[in-house]
C-alpha cells in the first residue's frame, strides 16, 4: 500500500479493514517479544521472549534490576530502536506488539512514528536530560502537540500547553510556560514531562523509572499525579522500575523480569502476598521497611545480574538461587517455562509447589 493512499484512507478505513483476524482482544498485547543487539562480543539478548497483555485503565508494573531488559522493552514498544543514525548496529526485533488491534513490529516506520507521541507516549527517567536545554518548556510541549495536530494554530497549541501544565500542578502555568528546563526544579520538570507526554491524550503511557531521579519527597507526588491522570484519561499505563515500592500501590499487575525474560507475573496483591519465584522473594527481601526492627539486615539478592550474551544455562537465576539443590539439577539444564501457579499468576521456576509454599511461609515471609 502506497503512502499516499494510506494517509488519505487512514482515518476511516484502518480500524475496520486492516484489523487482522488474529488481532488480540486486549488493548495492548505483547507476544514473544525478542530484542537482540548484535555486538562484536556476541548477541546481547536484552529481551528474549516476553509476553504480556494490558487493558485500558489498568497499570502494569515491570520490575527488575539494571540490565533485565525492562527499558529496552518499553523502547521497542514505541519503535524507538528502529530510528536513529546507528542503523547498522540496530536491534533485531521479533515477536508481536499489538496496540488496539494494530501490530507495530511489522508496521512501517512512518506509521509507528505517527502513533508515537499520539496514541502511545513515554515519560523518561531524568527530566533534566530528557528535555532540550535550549528550548523553553512551552516550546517543547507545543511542538509535541502540533506534530499530531498540524492544523492547530500556535495560539491553540499554547493554550492547550498551559492547560496541561496547570493540570499537572505547575503553579502560574501561563508564566512558567516560557521558562527553560533549567529554571524548573526536578519535580516540576518531571511534571512538565508528564504534561508533554499527555498533551495528545495517549491511550498508552509508559513511564520509565519516572521517580528515580527525583527527591524522595517529590516521588510520591509524581506517583499520585500519574495515578490521578490515569483515572482521568483512562489510559493504559506501564510503569517500569527497579523499586517494588513504587509499583506496590500503583500497579494492578506486576511483571518481574530477569535476564530479558519474565520470571513471574500476576496481580499486584498476589505478587506481594504469595510470590512464587525465589528472585521475587529476593526483591521483596531487599526492600527497606519502616515497620521492621532496625537491627535486622536487608537481604539483598546475592551475586550480580547475568551476562546477556551468555545467559547461564537452564534457569538464568540458578547461579544466584539458594534453592537450586532442591530441583535435582533441573535448574542448571532446563529453561523453566512460565507456568500457571495460581489464578492469573504465572511463574518460571523448577521448584515443586510444596517446596515453594514451604520456603515462602516458613523462611521468607516471616523475615519481611
Amino acid at each position: 500500500m502506497s503512502k499516499l493512499t494510506k494517509t488519505s484512507a487512514a482515518a476511516d478505513m484502518e480500524p475496520t479493514e486492516e484489523r487482522p483476524t488474529d488481532a488480540p482482544s486486549e488493548f495492548l498485547s505483547v507476544r514473544d517479544l525478542k530484542v537482540h543487539f548484535p555486538t562484536d562480543d556476541g548477541v546481547v539478548k536484552s529481551v528474549d521472549g516476553l509476553s504480556f497483555t494490558l487493558e485500558k485503565g489498568k497499570t502494569l508494573g515491570i520490575v527488575g534490576e539494571s540490565g533485565s531488559g525492562k527499558s529496552v522493552t518499553s523502547l521497542s514498544i514505541l519503535g524507538l530502536h528502529r530510528v536513529g543514525s546507528n542503523r547498522s548496529r540496530n536491534a533485531r526485533i521479533s515477536g508481536e506488539v499489538w496496540l488496539d488491534g494494530e501490530e507495530l513490529i511489522s508496521a512501517d516506520a512512518a506509521r509507528v512514528r505517527d502513533l508515537r507521541g499520539q496514541k502511545m507516549a513515554m515519560i523518561f527517567q531524568d527530566p533534566l536530560t530528557a528535555m532540550h536545554p535550549f528550548f523553553s518548556v512551552g516550546q517543547q510541549i507545543i511542538e509535541a502537540y502540533r506534530v499530531h495536530h498540524p492544523s492547530a494554530s500556535k495560539k491553540e497549541a499554547r493554550k492547550r500547553t498551559i492547560e496541561m501544565l496547570d493540570r499537572v500542578g505547575i503553579p502560574q502555568p501561563d508564566r512558567r510556560v516560557d521558562d527553560y528546563p533549567h529554571q524548573f526544579s526536578g519535580g516540576m520538570r518531571q511534571r512538565a514531562m508528564i504534561a508533554m507526554a499527555l498533551v495528545n491524550d495517549p491511550s498508552l503511557l509508559i513511564a520509565d523509572e519516572p521517580t528515580t531521579a527525583l527527591d524522595v519527597t517529590v516521588q510520591a507526588q509524581i506517583l499520585d499525579l500519574i495515578r490521578d491522570l490515569q483515572k482521568e484519561f483512562g489510559s493504559a499505563v506501564i510503569i517500569i522500575t527497579h523499586d517494588l515500592g513504587v509499583v506496590a500501590e500503583l500497579a494492578d499487575d506486576i511483571l518481574v523480569m530477569y535476564g530479558g525474560r519474565c520470571i513471574e507475573r500476576g496481580p499486584s496483591e498476589t505478587i506481594f502476598e504469595q510470590p512464587q519465584h525465589p528472585y521475587t522473594w529476593g526483591l521483596l527481601g531487599s526492600m527497606p521497611r519502616l515497620d521492621r526492627e532496625r537491627t535486622d539486615r536487608l537481604n539483598p539478592v546475592k551475586g550480580s545480574p547475568p551476562s546477556l550474551i551468555n545467559l547461564p544455562s537452564g534457569c538464568a537465576f540458578h547461579p544466584r538461587c539458594p534453592y537450586t539443590d532442591l530441583t535435582e539439577g533441573a535448574s542448571q539444564t532446563v529453561v523453566p517455562e512460565l507456568r500457571e501457579v495460581g489464578s492469573r499468576h504465572l511463574a518460571a521456576c523448577h521448584l515443586g509447589k510444596a517446596d515453594r509454599e514451604r520456603i515462602w511461609t516458613e523462611e521468607i515471609a516471616p523475615k519481611l
Binding site: 543514525s85 507521541g117 523518561f124 528535555m131 536545554p133 535550549f134 511542538e143 508533554m196
Partner: protein, 332 residues
C-alpha cells in the same frame, strides 16, 4: 542583557590595555636587554652619533619605559607630536608610530593591508563552514559508511598537509601549468568578479585546512548529541527524523563550532601568515613576516595589537551569540 553587554565591553577595554602593555613591554624592552638600539634601527648603521641622539630624543626613546608607554597610549587615542628642535611631525590618532624601515606611519599601512586579509578570511571561512560542517553532519548521520570513511580520510589529509605544500601545489597546477586562474590580488571595490577569481585558490587552500578540523568536530559533536536523552524525547514525540536532526540535534551541535569559529576567524584576521606568504597576498600576516625579518618594531607592535583586537572582538561576538543560542548562558 544591557548590563552584561556593558560589562563585557569594559572587559574588552581592560584586556586590550593589558595586551598592549605586555606587547609594548616585550618589543621595547627586548632591544634594551639584548643591547641593540631602536634609535640606531631608525637611523641606519652609518649614522653619526649626533643624529642617533637626535632621533632618540625625537622618538622619545630617552624617556623611561613607563613614560614611553604612556606616550604610546596617548598616541593611540589622541595622536602625538614628534619634535626635533623646531621640526615637528604630527601623527594623528590612532598613532602606532612610524616604521623603522619605510618611515611611513604604521596605522595607514595596517588599514591598507586589512582588506586583503579580510577578503581572504571571509571567503575562506564561508567555504570551510559550509563544507566542513556539511560533511561532518553527513558523516555523522551515515556513520561507518564509505562516504564517512572517505570524508574522514580526506579530513585527516587536510589537517596534516601544510598550507605551503597544498598552496604551492594548487598554484603550480591551476595557475602555472593549466593557466585557469590568475594570482594577482584585485580590490573587491574595483572588480568583484576578478577579486573572487584571484582569491579562489587561497580560499580553497585555507578552507581545506580548516574544513577538515570542522568536519571532524561537527561529526564528533553531532554523534555525541544524538546520544542525548532529549533526542530520544524528540523521537518519542513522533517528530520526523529530519526535524529531530535539523532542529533538536543541530542546535546543540552549533555551540562548540561557534566557539572554535570565533577563535579561528579572530586569529585569521590577525593574519593568515602562511597562506598570504604562499600566494603573495599583501595582507597583515605578510606584513608581520616582513616586519619581523627586518626587526621593524613599530610595525610588529601594530600588527600584534591589531590582531589581538580582532581575536578579542571575535570572542566577544561569540559570547554574545552564545547567549542567543543557549538560554542557560543568557539567564545565568
Amino acid at each position: 542583557m544591557l548590563v552584561y553587554l556593558i560589562r563585557r565591553l569594559v572587559n574588552v577595554a581592560v584586556l586590550l590595555l593589558v595586551v598592549s602593555a605586555i606587547t609594548f613591554g616585550i618589543f621595547f624592552m627586548v632591544p634594551k636587554l639584548t643591547g641593540s638600539d631602536p634609535a640606531l634601527l631608525y637611523v641606519g648603521k652609518i649614522a653619526d652619533k649626533a643624529a642617533v641622539e637626535g632621533i632618540r630624543h625625537k622618538m622619545g626613546l630617552d624617556k623611561s619605559i613607563a613614560e614611553q608607554y604612556f606616550l604610546f597610549l596617548k598616541g593611540l587615542f589622541v595622536g602625538r607630536d614628534y619634535s626635533q628642535g623646531t621640526d615637528v611631525t604630527h601623527c594623528s590618532a590612532p598613532c602606532f608610530g612610524y616604521s623603522f624601515k619605510t618611515e611611513q606611519e604604521v596605522w595607514p599601512l595596517l588599514l591598507d593591508r586589512l582588506p586583503v586579509t579580510l577578503s581572504l578570511a571571509s571567503g575562506a571561512s564561508v567555504i570551510w563552514l559550509v563544507v566542513g560542517t556539511g560533511t561532518g553532519i553527513v558523516s555523522a548521520l551515515r556513520r561507518r559508511s564509505v562516504l564517512d570513511r572517505a570524508t574522514m580520510v580526506t579530513a585527516l589529509a587536510g589537517v596534516s598537509l601544510p598550507i605551503y605544500f597544498t598552496g604551492l601545489l594548487a598554484l603550480s597546477i591551476f595557475v602555472n601549468t593549466l593557466g585557469w586562474l590568475p594570482n594577482n590580488y584585485v580590490n573587491f571595490t574595483d572588480d568583484p568578479v576578478e577579486w573572487a577569481r584571484n582569491l579562489i585558490l587561497p580560499w580553497i587552500t585555507l578552507a581545506f585546512l580548516y574544513a577538515a578540523t570542522y568536519a571532524r568536530l561537527t561529526r564528533a559533536t553531532l554523534l555525541e548529541v544524538l546520544g542525548e536523552d532529549y533526542i530520544r524525547t524528540a523521537r518519542a514525540k513522533g517528530l520526523k527524523e529530519n526535524k529531530v536532526i535539523g532542529k533538536h540535534a543541530l542546535r546543540s551541535t552549533m555551540t562548540p563550532i561557534l566557539t572554535v569559529f570565533g577563535l579561528d576567524i579572530g586569529a585569521l584576521i590577525g593574519g593568515a601568515v602562511l597562506t598570504e606568504k604562499t600566494f603573495d597576498l599583501r595582507g597583515l600576516g605578510y606584513e608581520a613576516v616582513q616586519a619581523i625579518s627586518q626587526s621593524d618594531l613599530p610595525v610588529i607592535l601594530g600588527v600584534t595589537l591589531f590582531a589581538a583586537f580582532f581575536v578579542i572582538m571575535a570572542n566577544l561576538v561569540v559570547d554574545l551569540l552564545y547567549a542567543v543560542v543557549d538560554p542557560r548562558v543568557r539567564l545565568g
